[in-house]
Amino acid sequence: MAMIHLGGPPGTGDGPDGIRLHVQRLSPPGGRPPTATVVLVHGLLTDSLASWYFTVAPDLAAAGLDVVMYDQRGHGRSERPGSGYRLETFVSDLERLLDQLDITTPVHLVGNCFGGTVAYGYALRHPERVAGIATIEAKPATESWLTDISGIMRRIVVELVAHEAESLAWVTAHRGAHTARLAKSAARLVRTTTIAEDVAASRTVSEERVRSLRCPALAVYGADSELAGEDGWRRALPPGARTVMLPGEGHSVLAEAPARIRTLLLSWIGEQGTATPPVTVPVAAGLEGADVS
């Protein structure tokens, strides 16, 4: 485990001491040099880097990637400041984290839900530092995203804060002890910070601006999720984005079907090639199909 200390620039709501984020990094086995860096960004409230650590991360490292995971502010083992939870602050955290880790080559960003929105935010800010984006059940921060997330936050405040005991009892009975434990941490985050109002006050981007993104993008959805059932969501994806609907899956598709997500991510990142352009090898003359013109 490593705690990475990010300084406190203006506008983040952090004190002068900045914020400390919990980071985990997995490298290819046997000291092999990595082919590229992939940064995994988790979702809001009940999520943490553990969702990656226990699903796709070890296989991505085994496939030769440098895998960076971190707990977003307020989540997991990272610090939980009282305020400073607008989307743009989460994007600044990712920016400062990669600077701090001295990662200068373009990275593959993989985001789950809100983590996907953070990934899009980063790519819009630094297109030259992104080799590609893969998102799971996520949308860029358009007006329609803000409407959705604000509604979800309002509901959560009612359920987890105003009726915490009843809600936790229901979660324990229907979703098991572990989910209840996660819900308890989420309730603490909502109760002790301004996250609910901050997220709802995030800055949005126009669909047009999202369509100006030129990096390769993969957008995965559970076919039964609310997001996949919405009208017009494709308009707010970068042009040429590949969308994949996983039948029989809902919003928690990463936790429910990690093997399918793993396969998709590995083949997609493989297709994008490595961060450094491959050396062009001249094609031997006479090979069938070789372009000899």
């Binding site: 553990a50 226990f54 699903t55 070890p58 085994a62 083992r77 572990h178 996660l182 941490s185 936790a255």
Partner: protein, 126 residues
């Protein structure tokens, strides 16, 4: 007629027993639980991380780091859980982890013994 098999490397004396590893792991867990204000919980082989100790998945990630600090690269928790489903990770017992650690340490010890034997062989032959 009986064939005499080459003697396998003797089990290393240095490899800790399951009991010793359990004591180690229980110590690490107590430190984590103290921070959560949960002490005085008995930790045995059949104790479950989630149901009995109320640990979250992120606590298991922290534990993985502590294990690596204690036992080195041979004990790779990420590799161990890579073969498990999420439900199995959530239902994991302390005993399953202890057995895995003992297995890793045994393998590491046998490999070290083989390397020593091979080096000795090279030295004799030269």
């Amino acid at each position: 007629m009986t064939t005499v098999e080459p003697t396998a490397p003797a089990p290393a004396q240095k490899t800790p027993t399951a009991q010793a590893v359990l004591a180690d792991v229980a110590g690490m867990l107590r430190t984590m639980l103290d921070e959560e204000g949960l002490d005085d919980i008995e930790i045995a082989m059949d104790t479950r991380f989630t149901d009995d100790l109320e640990l979250e998945s992120i606590d298991l990630v922290t534990l993985a780091g502590t294990l690596q600090d204690r036992y080195g690269q041979e004990v790779n928790f990420a590799e161990f859980v890579a073969d498990l489903e999420l439900d199995e990770i959530i239902g994991l017992t302390v005993g399953q982890l202890v057995e895995y650690i003992v297995r890793c340490l045994n393998v590491a010890e046998i490999q070290a013994a083989e390397t020593r034997a091979a080096e000795a062989g090279v030295a004799e032959g030269s």
